[in-house]
């Protein structure tokens, strides 16, 4: 019987029914301390430290602080130091603050080549779906499950349903993978993928680079999906080849990886079709990623919405965002611009943003920040001179970390500040209490920084 890629990976990892073996467990400082405590209390060890990898990302300052003990915020310092201590005690490899391999957990996995096709990958972080871009089954888990995987290298899982979203045609000029996923979430709703492992397919996906594919899979969770996946192909293999964690027998590995894509005729529980050529640059206007419009549209009018629940949510969102229905999105003026996060902080993202600002200046009304996803991304970007481009334009060029995506470190918005952000969540208070987030692509963020308001990147010269 023809199988989906999900079916193949799932059945290859079933130790027994509903018990799934985990090939790679990524760990960070926020969701792991209670799990390590649980192990200690029960007198248990980490079953496979060699299938586990830790880094510090959520709490780390991006101002050049070189070691955990130097973190000014006491709670953050304790959390990062606790991670370092736990990793030492249990033998788990860690790239903490000060390591040249430190970075956002979903950036360093693929960068080191430890993220590979056909694997099962988990992390106590919802954006673990990022790794599905390699044709892996990757999903976020809670702290109890982190402890479970540390102790057993397995997880008890309900088998999710399967969904395929097929994108016909090609994205237009200036339209990016970020726009593709925002438009998809806008159409399906933030609960549209709940309970599903989602495979993104079609010509518009196949022609994307790995960073573009990672951006799409990353935001699967914003549509409620359990996991996002993209079939591995030559683009995938070329990314993994030569990296530290790549398989020793690379030819044998690629031969096995070629068997992973969904068989012709395999059936999914849900199928969705999207015309890629009709997708425009997107900007969110509200407090959930599904509250999104094309940049050429206006802020929607809640009164025109059919369902009372949607109307109420929209009214509350507009009040929080300080926006009026009917205002063209191109008149909305952010004071802050953040380019970074596990969604859009890879060298390719920075390259695109740099190309947009090259030779221009950040508007006087705007403070712009660029935060590379990892120390390696930072080094690579600097080798290309991207830091100079950003600095000359008036952007701050910072150290690697989650930064202003989630406000757990000093990079936050102050009450009422409006931000064009390349991150993944525009929830109330996500970037700082009272902060107002508009999610956009790196080029849209860069252009907004220069103009002081959103612009349609397609006709921006």
């Amino acid at each position: 019987m023809p199988q989906t890629m999900f079916d193949k990976i799932w059945s290859a990892h079933e130790v027994s029914e509903g018990l799934i073996y985990i090939d790679l467990h990524l760990v960070h400082e926020v969701t792991s301390p209670q799990a390590f405590d649980g192990l200690r209390l029960a007198g248990r060890g980490v079953r496979r430290p060699d299938k586990t990898l830790a880094t510090a990302d959520h709490n780390v300052p991006t101002d050049g602080t070189k070691a955990a003990r130097l973190i000014a915020d006491q709670l953050s310092r304790v959390q990062v130091e606790t991670l370092e201590r736990n990793c030492e005690e249990f033998g788990v490899p860690i790239y903490s603050l000060g390591s040249e391999r430190q970075g956002i957990v979903h950036v360093i996995g693929p960068e080191l080549g430890v993220t590979q096709p056909g694997m099962t990958i988990v992390c106590g972080d919802s954006h673990t779906s990022t790794h599905g871009a390699f044709g892996a089954l990757a999903f976020g888990i809670g702290t109890s499950e982190v402890e479970h995987v540390l102790a057993t290298q397995c997880l008890v899982q309900r088998r999710p349903k399967t969904m395929r979203i097929s994108y016909a045609g090609e994205l237009g000029a200036g339209v990016t993978p970020k726009d593709l996923i925002l438009a998809t979430i806008g159409r399906l709703g933030t609960g549209g993928m709940v309970g599903h492992a989602v495979e993104y397919a079609g010509p518009a996906i196949e022609s994307l680079s790995m960073p573009g594919r990672m951006t799409i899979c990353n935001m699967t969770i914003e549509g409620g999906g359990r996991a996002g996946m993209i079939a591995p192909d030559e683009t995938t293999f070329e990314w993994v080849r030569g990296r530290q964690g790549a398989p020793e027998d690379f030819e044998a590995a690629t031969a096995a990886w070629r068997e992973l894509p969904t068989d012709p005729g395999a059936s999914f529980d849900t199928e969705v079709e999207v015309e890629a050529g009709e997708i425009a640059p997107m900007v969110t206007w509200g407090t959930s990623p599904g509250m999104v419009v094309e940049v050429t549209d206006a802020v929607p009018d809640p009164a025109a919405m059919d369902s009372p629940a949607d109307r109420e949510s929209a009214e509350r969102a507009l009040a929080y965002m300080g926006l009026e229905a009917g205002t063209p999105m191109t008149e909305v003026a952010p004071e802050r611009v953040f380019i970074g996060s596990c969604t859009n902080s890879r060298v390719e993202d920075l390259r695109e943003a740099a190309a947009a600002v090259d030779g221009r200046k950040v508007a006087d009304s705007v403070r712009g920040m660029v935060v590379p996803g990892s120390q390696q991304v930072k080094a690579d970007a600097e080798a290309e001179g991207l830091d100079d481009v950003f600095r000359s334009a008036g952007f701050e060029w910072r150290e690697a970390g989650c930064s202003m995506c989630l406000g757990m470190n000093p990079d936050i918005l102050i009450e009422g500040e409006r931000c064009a952000s390349t991150s993944n969540r525009n929830f109330e208070g996500r970037q700082g209490k009272g902060g107002r987030t508009h999610l956009v692509s790196p080029t849209m963020a860069a252009a907004a920084a220069v103009e002081g308001h959103f612009v349609d990147i397609r006709d921006w010269k």
Binding site: H13, S16, G18, L19, Y21, D23, L24, V30, T31, Q34, D37, R44, R47, R48, P49, D50, K51, L53, H58, L75, S76, V78, T82, P93, V114, G118, M119, G124, G140, I141, G142, T143, S144, E145, H148, T152, Q153, C154, V156, R158, P160, T190, G191, V194, G195, I221, G224, G245, E248, G290, A309, S313, L406, G407, M408, R425, F427, E428, G429, R430
Partner: protein
């Protein structure tokens, strides 16, 4: 019972990020819905049951959200739908997630009082009795309070065999 009639309540609202820096597992209840409660956006009393809106618990995977709800006093959450990770996290700590369709959620909320029977899988209020679905193994765990890891470790032999059979993939992270 308490009612929070909003859709898409995310875990950033349930427990804002500044409280995720704690390394303990207890004491999160006082920070539940921190901003909303302090800004007077919502009122919420600690009761055994919380009736909530669709897609409850979306966003971040933080188990701190169910920890806070439980520590605040809730034992069960009734909603038309839940985000996947949040649902799983609840079942791991013995907080009961109950999915009822939107109409029935409203009836329960309006009744103001209800009794939930995990064994029978029913929610009973003055205006009706509504059945809900729950996986047998989750039901078993909620009733028995079993140690998940202990159960999996009983399969240690099968896990060893899976590894010996070449099922595990990837190079050692310890050798990078």
């Amino acid at each position: 019972m308490s009612v929070l009639d909003r859709a898409d309540v995310d875990t950033d609202q349930i427990i804002p990020k500044q409280f995720l820096k704690r390394v303990e597992r207890t004491g999160f209840g006082e920070f539940l819905f921190y901003d909303w409660l302090r800004d007077g956006e919502i009122e919420l009393e600690p009761n055994p049951i919380l009736v909530a809106g669709r897609n409850f618990g979306c966003g971040s995977s933080r188990e701190h959200a169910p920890w806070a709800l439980e520590d605040f006093g809730f034992e069960a959450i009734v909603a038309p739908s839940f985000a996947d990770i949040f649902y799983a996290n609840c079942t791991k700590i013995g907080l009961l997630p109950v999915e009822l369709d939107e109409r029935h959620c409203r009836t329960v909320a309006e009744a103001g009082e209800a009794r939930i029977d995990v064994d029978d899988q029913t929610v009973t209020c003055a205006d009706g009795v509504f059945e809900f679905e729950i996986e047998p193994d989750i039901q078993h765990r909620l009733l028995g309070g079993l140690d998940d890891i202990g159960i999996t470790l009983e399969s240690a032999g099968a896990i060893d065999e899976f590894e010996r059979g070449g099922g595990a993939r990837g190079r050692a992270t310890t050798a990078l």
